[in-house]
Symmetry: C2
Subunit: 346 residues, 2 copies
């Protein structure tokens, strides 16, 4: 008889369950997990199958880290910064105010030590993770009234979570945390004055334009927002090397593909939003400057309070200094001229 | 006896040879091919091996398309635009003056029809290809003298190939094609006045700073330069689906990884170049505007001359209009403030 190849015998059938932090309606966010799953199956000839679930179908949308830590789920697709209630060190792996943009963040993760720092941190929760998709720079959200000066931020009830909420507190606003389902009616009735979400493609689905038409740019607290494909450490360790490689590349592909999808979808979505009444506005420079200073203060405080965050941010901010200096030279000087040339060059 | 799994029997041992268009000294360029090869081997448990060769070891650096067309090589890693001598339609798949930047180009390839147009074109050469790495926005090159006005471009002997060469011809310069080995001595002796190459990391190795110290930004004719992993059609068609998937993802990973490497390597390289005497300069706006207009003329001519190019550029330019408008909103407004805030906000 023919010898059975040792290789084939050693590649096991593996079934994992993976929950997204997002519902199906946010098709690029949820779809990224579906594409990762399809790629892994394809690469392993169907032997490694990851069943995907939208938020809430296995555990709560914000309970993925807990489920992975306990081992009740093999993997999840989520933003790390949803877990800053456990530890502020979860924040910079997703987005940080005035931080690295999408491309720079990729470089920090891959070449600047970011992936090692992330996995060192996640290991405390029995988690191994890979970056897996990004939204690109987000928008600054929907406001019932135009914001022309810092004074108008005083007392403004703004639905904005996490560290950006702390930043806006320093600017005099009142970050308000309400459940997603309550945002629309709260804006409509004026219980809140503003909400920030993602960008045109997802914001169109949320439909805030009908109740808060001033649409601000940029979301300076999310110059990119990276998702992670998080796995229970024991489940990861049990995988054959080629299955680990399949996850590595499927997630790398997600980093390329997800932002490409947002970049293609956002321009027509923004046009439709403007046709529906959205008033596009840019933050006045004095607000941006005050926000930059507030962020420096919040960051200094957070780094002092949390040595784990300090270690991560020292790497992140060092890398940021290099990136910001270099990007001004070739990338930004090109973008600044070219993006407006069709309107300005005669 | 145990039944031999049908699956394992069907996965063949495959050996391919792949030549890069670049020598080893350009480590990020050549290393991208090495990483693709390593990934494919890892994903296929070593059954699909791609042996890599630097430029010239199998065929000439600029003969990859010919070798693939004839089937004397299974795959190559190159810039498509090296082959505009055959057909100008090869140009926009790598870079186009005042065109899409790296991230926008990825979106065009994946969501805007670019990959289909590229493969439709490459099929005429028996080639199937995947995008596989990008340099990011390039620098404008090294000049013996400072360029402060359009008049100084008249008669300037500039080593710049392809469509950008045509653009500079319209600006009065004299594009000069000399072999790579002759560039340094020609600059030193003043036989040429300027040379364009890539960006700080690669330019440092070429060492032009010693003979032409004015270093211009941006390389507006290469707002990103995409490489392709090109394969002979018959070799590709013979692959099992999981091997095809392995190439797809390894190339997608290269799109993420290569520019991340450039982004990490360029800032310290630029610092070293400046320490070595480089004088960083930005193109004066009148030159950028004249170049924009010259590019519109060159592009209109090329599109009129070549229906294949016209079809590609119509897709590309339509996508560019959308991208440039949208990127001004969130991405560029963030970048413009944040990149300089550490120096300007007090």
């Amino acid at each position: 008889a023919l010898a059975t190849p040792a290789l084939a015998q050693s590649l096991p059938e593996v079934r994992w369950r993976c929950q997204s932090a997002f519902p199906r309606v946010f098709d690029i966010l949820y779809g990224t997990l579906e594409r990762i799953s399809a790629r892994v199956a394809q690469l392993t000839d169907g032997k490694f199958r990851i069943q995907t679930f939208p938020a809430g179908e296995v555990v709560g949308a914000l309970q993925i880290v807990d489920a992975l830590q306990q081992g009740s789920l093999e993997c999840g697709h989520t933003a790390s910064y949803y877990y800053i209630g456990k530890d502020t060190a979860f924040a910079p792996f997703t987005a940080y105010p005035f931080g690295l943009n999408t491309r720079q963040l990729t470089s920090w993760f891959r070449l600047g030590g970011g992936n090692d720092l992330a996995n060192e941190h996640f290991a405390d929760y029995n988690i191994v993770a890979r970056t897996a998709g990004d939204t690109g720079a987000q928008m600054g959200g929907w406001f019932r009234n135009e914001i022309t000066s810092l004074e108008q931020l005083r007392g403004l009830k703004f639905r904005i979570p996490g560290i950006p909420g702390q930043l806006f507190t320093r600017l005099g606003a009142v970050p308000t945390l309400i459940a997603p389902a309550d945002i629309y009616p709260s804006l409509e009735r004026g219980v809140i004055d503003a909400v920030e979400f993602v960008g045109p493609h997802d914001d169109e689905r949320a439909n805030y334009v009908r109740v808060a038409r001033f649409y601000y740019a940029p979301g300076f607290w999310e110059p990119g927002a990276r998702l992670h494909f998080m796995m229970n450490q024991r489940a990861w360790a049990a995988l054959p090397d080629s299955y680990k490689a399949a996850i590595d590349v499927a997630c790398a592909e997600a980093d390329t593909e997800m932002v490409a999808r947002y970049d293609a979808a956002n321009p027509p979505a923004l046009r439709r939003l403007i046709a529906a009444g959205a008033q596009l506005r840019f933050w006045p420079r004095p607000i941006m400057e005050a926000a930059w200073r507030a962020n420096e203060e919040v960051t200094a405080d957070l780094m002092q309070q949390n040595p784990k965050l300090r270690k991560i941010m020292e790497s992140y901010l060092r890398f940021r200094t290099e990136q910001f200096q270099w990007f001004r030279v070739a990338e930004n000087s090109f973008d600044n001229f070219a993006f407006s040339a069709a309107q300005t060059v005669r």
